[in-house]
């Protein structure tokens, strides 16, 4: 007989941000077994009676565990199997989200930890693998899209945006070609009259995403 089997259905969220010029992930202390009190990705069961779909579940869980509604949330990949959860056969529909670090730090949730993606301990379940998939996706999309802009906050200077792209890509970029690519993307606009003091340098012009690109990625025909 082909009948449904009891399968644990969850959502996990890889919430990424830039801290000290490094790509970091947000971990949340688990409040129940398995792995009680250990740090892991924010996640939880799908609630069939209240979530319309998994995206809805991801938004609910993020709000509950971090207090945030991040500007960018995308389905990453689904992790499944008999071996990944000690409770039994499970599905985790994983999402990744990008957020300005200031939002996380000001939300001041004591249960949250920010950890660089290249300095993670062994995490519960297959969460290291999920994070690695998210970092791959970010790295790939940063080559040819405006994705890293979602890590930059409301307004930012071009030097700061370049540092964010570099943290996502894991490599240094040439300033002149980076600026040419940003021009080509065409998603940024200068904030009139707003500059940032930059130490010994002259103040840097501040930029923001044009309103039409706040919820929509823009792609380059040729990558960075």
């Amino acid at each position: 007989m082909d009948i449904p089997q009891p399968i644990i259905s969850t959502v996990d969220i890889v919430l990424l941000l830039i801290k000290d010029e490094r790509l970091c992930v947000t971990l949340s202390k688990r409040d129940k077994d398995p792995y009680e009190n250990q740090e892991a990705l924010p996640g939880g069961y799908i609630h069939a009676e209240e979530d319309r779909d998994c995206l809805d579940a991801a938004v609910r869980i993020l709000r509950q565990k971090t207090g945030l509604l991040p500007p960018y949330l995308e389905q990453l990949k689904t992790f499944t199997g008999a071996a990944r959860d000690p409770r039994g056969w499970s599905i985790s529909v994983a999402y990744f989200a990008l957020v300005d670090a200031d939002l996380i730090l000001s939300s001041a949730n004591p249960g949250l930890t920010i950890c660089p993606v290249d300095a993670l301990r062994r995490l519960p379940f297959d969460h290291n693998e999920i994070i690695a998939a998210a970092v791959d996706r970010i790295r790939n999309k940063s080559q040819y899209s405006s994705l890293p802009c979602y890590l930059a906050g409301e307004t930012f200077s071009l030097p700061r945006l370049q540092k964010i792209y570099e943290a996502c890509l894991g490599e240094a970029l040439h300033k002149v070609s980076f600026r040419r690519k940003m021009d080509e993307l065409g998603v940024l606009e200068a904030v009139p009259g707003q500059t940032e003091s930059a130490g010994a340098h002259r103040p840097a012009q501040m930029y923001r995403l044009k309103s039409e690109f706040k919820n929509q990625l823009k792609l380059l025909v040729r990558g960075l």
Copy 2:
């Protein structure tokens, strides 16, 4: 209380092939309700007691419903929600697979139908949406990878491979630049002494994937 809810957990497979120079999808007649006797994507419940993970389930379901083990199988996206299945809240982990048309046609399963992706009727569930996502993925990956080669069978001429790329991309390609890109990809090797008669033209050299690329995509730095 945060306890798991009963959620229908399934796998669906978008099995793509080229027929008459068009990108087509394989539909399978449903043998039970809902939508009994209607054509839909091959799919089925995850069997927690026998499938190690969803990929395993996809391979099992493809074998059962089509008799095939396709050369390329990739997780596409997960489709979820309260509205997509009349039986209740459901998760479908969707995969796409690429196969040489001759394999499908010779498997001669009378329950299977081959339909061009741009000439589909309204299908059960959200299967039109799943197929559209697969076509998008193929179109995108065909721009910069060896993916369409998996649709070409064991051996093929370059004119035939170009037709396959064109069917995937939905646009005509320039012969000279197509061949330069194939050289750059470096995944093909000529089959010694094997040619294909080509009407009034001189016989075309036959090619195959180098063995190291039979199970591994190769990417172009710059797209087609």
